[in-house]
């Protein structure tokens, strides 16, 4: 077999192309020009980055326009815009993660941080640790328990309600008046400020059990208000993309509608529903305002969501920053707050990973 040799020559099919090093060359030019311009207005790294990006885009696109023509130049310009937007979105994320890691790692690694509460920790201990250099005492155990319990209870309430609502919307309402109304109200609920949800739960329980009822369960109800619309929306989407053919196949076998939904439609959509629920949990786990209003603030471990105040990670952070345990030496409190923030971010990341894992585990298998 003889390979067909294609010598490089100009035909009606070939076009001029930028050399392969063009992006890198443009980048170097961009960095240099960016540095020069930013020095003119007062140098800082941020300004350098912005000017370098602009200079790079101009050089790269102009070069491409000169060599390759308008279509390729527009393509390169769009590429620059897309990548630029990506960087703009990702930079703050990395910045947040980096800041919290930097501030929180010391607190997180302090022995007993995850396993002790703030019970009995007062300004005296904090002053002592600052003065003598001994380790910071007190931890987030009570807040961790509180966050887990409150989120667990709000999940227990909102997943059945949300899932059944979405089943009604997709399988039963058939675009009727009630279905449209529910969709509208769910959309409105999505936009409710979290403090309003907290006020609602506080007012509800004040009406039923008397004023000042502040327990973990009230906070769970407040979070439920925030969580239900997210669950409804995500599971509605998932149920809608279940092909109608599967429903018809089940009906044609003489299967009743509710069993079709229970055994065919929901299992087919379960991976999406489960990851939607996990993301909804991630959405509410960091809520502060409604928990402040409804669960109060505790320094002791409280395992009972139905009585007494309960701490949570967001309120813990809030109070450690706002009212340091020792007003004259706020550093130990700051350290604890950053540690708690780091734990919270790790929680949310783990939840997102779980969502992906769950989606993969439940996804319909196509193995041969």
């Amino acid at each position: 077999m003889t390979a067909i040799a294609t010598p490089r020559r100009r035909t009606s099919l070939t076009r001029n192309r930028l050399p392969r090093i063009a992006p890198w060359a443009s980048l170097v030019v961009g960095l240099v020009v960016g540095a020069a311009v930013s020095t003119l207005v007062g140098f800082n790294v941020f300004g350098w980055g912005v000017f370098a990006a602009i200079a790079f885009t101009i050089v790269y696109v102009a070069w491409s326009a000169a060599v390759e023509g308008g279509r390729k130049a527009r393509d390169k310009f769009a590429t620059c815009l897309v990548i630029g937007s990506f960087i703009i979105v990702v930079l703050p994320l990395f910045s947040v993660i980096w800041t919290v890691l930097e501030g929180g790692i010391k607190g997180l690694l302090t022995p007993g941080f995850l396993g002790t509460s703030m019970n009995g920790v007062s300004g005296i201990q904090d002053n002592q640790s600052v003065n003598t250099g001994s380790r910071v005492v007190g931890g987030i155990y009570h807040a961790l328990i509180g966050t887990l319990l409150i989120t667990l209870w709000s999940t227990i309430i909102s997943v059945p309600v949300g899932l059944l609502t979405s089943i009604y919307l997709v399988e039963y309402s058939r675009g009727g008046r009630l279905g449209q109304a529910i969709t509208l109200f769910v959309d409105v609920m999505t936009g409710i400020p979290s403090i309003v949800a907290g006020l609602f739960a506080a007012a509800l329980f004040a009406t039923i059990f008397g004023p000042g009822t502040q327990t973990g369960f009230v906070a769970a109800v407040a979070l439920t208000v925030l969580m239900i619309p997210v669950v409804v929306r995500s599971s509605e989407e998932m149920l809608r993309i279940v092909p109608n053919e599967l429903r018809e196949a089940a009906y044609a076998l003489g299967v009743r509608k509710w069993r079709t939904i229970l055994k065919v439609v929901v299992p087919t959509a379960i991976s999406g529903i489960a990851s939607g629920v996990t993301l909804a949990i991630a959405r509410v786990i960091g809520e502060t305002a409604p928990i402040l209003l409804t669960a109060g603030f505790a320094t002791k471990i409280n395992l009972n969501v139905f009585s007494n105040w309960m701490a949570s990670l967001p309120t813990y952070i809030y109070f450690q920053i706002l009212n340091p345990t020792s007003p004259s030496n706020p550093d130990p409190s700051l350290q604890r707050a950053w540690g708690a923030a780091l734990v919270l971010i790790i929680f949310v990341m783990i939840l997102n990973l779980i969502a992906r894992l769950v989606a993969r585990i439940f996804a319909p298998k196509t193995g041969r």
Binding site: Y251, L253, R368
Partner: protein, 259 residues
């Protein structure tokens, strides 16, 4: 097992739109009947009224009578779910349940209805249904693998196995081969020939050679124009429809001079 179908003056409506008008037809037990006709002429719609599957579409309703061995499918107090256990259906696109194994797909009609069967009974149902669908030898070693891993033709035969596992009297097939290659089509056509020994088979097809190959009787449907209802033009033995049609429209259609 097998039952005859008698349809009297059936009109099918989608909301106010009359999709099918005045169909009367007698389908013998243990026979294969093919419905042919141009797209949109209402043959699939009519087929779906034979097991009340059209009711899945909002606003669809019928006037007239469909008798299954003398029992009116549209009589008062008739449960559409019960109708569908007697009249099974196979669809145009193979649609095995993606969450279930091959075994569970075959057993779907039994299991989803909440019936409990012993292990030996289920094994018997699975094997006889898959043998009935000419699929047993190809899948017997991988019954616990997902049904969606099979080829298109195998999936369609799996759907047929699933339909016969609930032991219906009638099997309706809505263009069962239009998504399959010629070899899989041949397999399904052979299967239809075997099925008619036990079941009444009604098949909608766009492929006239297929109708000629598999059916005993053929019904030709047509519409006068867009927005007009579909009608049954001619219903006779398949040889008569293809060789000696009475109606001009039928002759034009089967000889390819349509339109």
């Amino acid at each position: 097992m097998s039952k005859r179908i008698d349809v009297k003056d059936l009109n099918v409506y989608y909301g106010n739109f009359r999709a099918v008008e005045g169909v009367s037809i007698n389908i013998e037990a243990r026979s294969v009947t093919a419905f042919i006709g141009p797209s949109g002429c209402g043959k699939s719609t009519f087929l779906r009224t034979l097991n009340r599957m059209h009711e899945v579409i909002p606003g669809a309703h019928v006037e007239g009578h469909v008798l299954l061995d003398g029992d009116d499918l549209y009589g008062p107090g008739v449960d559409p779910v019960a109708v569908r256990t007697h009249v099974g259906m196979v669809f145009q696109r193979p649609n095995p349940f993606p969450t279930m194994s091959i075994r569970d797909n075959v057993l779907a009609g039994v299991k989803l209805n909440g019936k409990k069967l012993s292990r030996s009974d289920t094994d018997g149902v699975v094997e006889s249904s898959l043998r009935g669908a000419n699929l047993w030898n190809e899948v017997k070693d991988r019954l616990d693998k997902p049904g969606s891993g099979l080829s298109g033709g195998q999936q369609q035969r799996l759907c047929i196995a699933r339909a016969i596992a609930v032991k219906p009297d009638v099997i309706l097939m809505d263009e069962p081969c239009s998504a399959l290659d010629p070899i899989s089509t041949l397999a399904v056509e052979d299967l239809i020939n075997e099925l008619k020994e036990q079941y009444t088979v009604v098949i909608v097809t766009h492929n006239m050679q297929q109708a000629a190959r598999v059916s005993d009787k053929t019904a030709f449907f047509n519409i006068a124009g867009t927005g007009k209802p579909g009608k049954l033009i001619e219903y006779a033995d398949t040889t008569a429809i293809f060789n000696n049609p009475k109606e001009k429209a039928t002759e034009d259609y089967v000889s390819g001079r349509f339109g």
